[in-house]
């Protein structure tokens, strides 16, 4: 039933719970497990290329940490995880990746926002749930 599972991982505590849950499901269903982390925009209106490079280096260190954590969690459940870092707006990029990869399940961490924030903007998890081409599991 579940052959390919994708977990969206932004390095937050909620995302770590999502990776745990996705790894658990992947072990139970013997499914392929992938994680996706979205690299958001570089500094806008930068004054030097070096400023852009410095942010990129900082991001690379962040992605290394996020990937290492996801691999440790997956290893605890005895499954392998393939980690991907992609660019763009997080909702657009995840939906595209999920669609193109033919995933059966998208696992997300829940990120709590204030009521005002959610009323005005909607939450990322809500938008992803609405737009995803497959079933979605939100880990809380």
């Amino acid at each position: 039933m579940l052959d390919k599972i994708l977990v969206a991982d932004d390095g937050s505590a909620g995302a770590r719970r999502a990776v745990e849950m996705a790894a658990d499901l992947a072990a139970r269903y013997q499914a392929q497990l992938h994680s996706v982390t979205v690299e958001e925009e570089l500094p806008r209106y930068a004054a030097t290329m070096d400023e852009v490079d410095a942010v990129q280096e900082q991001k690379a260190r962040f992605f290394e940490r996020v990937t290492a954590e996801a691999q440790q969690i997956a290893a605890r459940y005895g499954v392998e995880i393939e980690c991907h870092v992609i660019s763009g707006h997080e909702v657009e990029a995840i939906i595209r990746f999920c669609t193109e990869g033919g995933f059966d399940l998208l696992v997300l961490g829940f990120m709590g926002h204030s009521r005002i924030f959610e009323r005005v903007w909607g939450s990322t998890s809500q938008t992803l749930t609405r737009l995803a081409p497959c079933s979605v599991l939100v880990a809380k």
């Binding site: 925009e41 500094p43 806008r44 004054a47 070096d50 763009g88």
Partner: protein, 390 residues
């Protein structure tokens, strides 16, 4: 006033800009500029000799780093098309803005020239960030666009260095010494770095500062501008810097922590908000002139290089951005007395507008199709095709 308290206020503004930058992903330099405007207009912050020195040194190092950021192999590889696009991207806005300032706004000859130079620039950093985001920086097309931006900047720096210079013996000496240094620097620098780099006393940084100060000093003697040799030195040392990334990181720490905040805050605090209001129409018109002249120069070339319409407009808008060199040119004009504070304000406001508005329009309406955001588009022309069209 107590100089430590003055320093505390400047650094507080720089720190605030950094914190806002982390939250908003807006460049720290632009925020320093904006906080400088607030500091100058509401906190009545003023420049002192030592803040001006640090700001000037910041401008020199910013320019040096801008030159050193080029990939020499890429420039060599795309020399013809990048020269064509970069030169047109400099020349049309330069002539257009200069003519508009002279004949429509009624500015005198020197202030019109400063307007032309300040509005001819392209922000390499803004273009670079977008190319990295879209993955185009790894393609021939992306490298060509970047190389073209460097040529545009070179045009700006040369114009700034040459137009106002005194044609005397000092200029001759400056040209000869600079040419000599540039000729031997790649080898001499390589030898010096190989022998002395990585020591705790930072000998390679001192070597670099010595060259920047000495050539900058000679340029000023010839009534030229210290950023001219800085950019040329950067270009000459670009290859060496590719091999010494650790030194670049250490230099970046010095530049961003201590020097560029003073430069951008100073550039901002000389902006007069009342002059922004009274000059609003001229600001809008000059911004329009910059965007139109860039479009006239760059868009047809983008089409010639077989970029689809959307990507062509996107590239044109990105090449219409400006920030660092625009403010450096305006500040040069103000400090040399070629433009008044009102004219400085108008030019810097146009420069800030040209950093923000084209980028916003490009990102909102002409962002390439999603597929291009994570991978190299299939329709990116090969180098041979690009050169064929140049």
């Amino acid at each position: 006033m107590n100089q430590w308290l003055v320093a505390a206020v400047w650094v507080a503004l720089a720190l605030a800009a950094g914190l806002i930058s982390v939250r908003t992903a807006i460049s720290v330099s632009l925020l320093e500029l904006v906080l400088g405007v607030i500091g100058g207009n509401f906190l009545h912050l003023q420049t002192t000799d030592w803040t001006s020195f640090l700001a000037g040194f910041g401008a020199i190092l910013l320019t040096f780093m801008a030159g050193a950021e080029i990939d020499p192999d890429s420039l060599r590889k795309h020399l013809r098309p990048s020269l064509a696009i970069g030169f047109v991207s400099f020349l049309l806005p330069f002539l257009g803005a200069m003519a508009f300032a002279r004949h429509v706004a009624g500015w005198d000859a020197h202030s019109s020239q400063i307007a032309g130079i300040a509005l001819s620039t392209t922000s390499v950093a803004v273009v670079y960030a977008v190319l990295v985001e879209t993955g185009l920086n790894r393609t021939d097309l992306g490298k060509l666009i970047l190389a073209a931006c460097f040529i545009t900047d070179l045009g700006t720096v040369l114009a700034l260095g040459i137009l106002f210079a005194n044609y005397d013996l000092w200029l001759l000496a400056f040209v000869l010494v600079t040419a000599g240094v540039l000729a031997i620097l790649p080898r001499a620098g390589k030898w010096f770095f190989a022998r002395y780099a990585g020591r705790v006393s930072e000998l390679e940084t001192k070597f670099l500062f010595l060259l920047l100060f000495a050539l900058g000093g000679m340029a000023v003697k010839a009534n030229s501008e210290a950023v001219l040799p800085a950019y040329l030195l950067g270009l000459a040392m670009a290859g060496l810097f590719l091999q010494h990334r650790e030194m670049v990181r250490r230099l970046r720490t010095t530049v961003f922590a201590l020097l560029t905040p003073f430069y951008f805050i100073k550039a901002g605090l000389l902006v007069s908000l009342p002059a922004v209001i009274t000059g609003a129409a001229l600001i809008g018109l000059l911004l329009g002139v910059k965007l139109v002249t860039k479009a006239v120069g760059v868009y047809p070339l983008a089409g010639a290089f077989r970029l689809p319409r959307r990507e062509g407009i996107y590239t044109t808008l990105l090449m219409s951005t400006g920030l660092t060199f625009g403010t450096i040119s305006a500040l040069f004009g103000y400090q040399r007395g070629f433009i008044s504070q009102s004219q400085y304000t108008i030019l810097v406001t146009v420069v800030i507008g040209s950093a923000v508005i084209p980028t916003m329009v490009a990102q909102a309406f002409f962002r390439p199709a999603p597929a291009a955001l994570t991978s190299v588009p299939e329709n990116v022309p090969h180098l041979a095709e690009v050169q064929e069209h140049a």
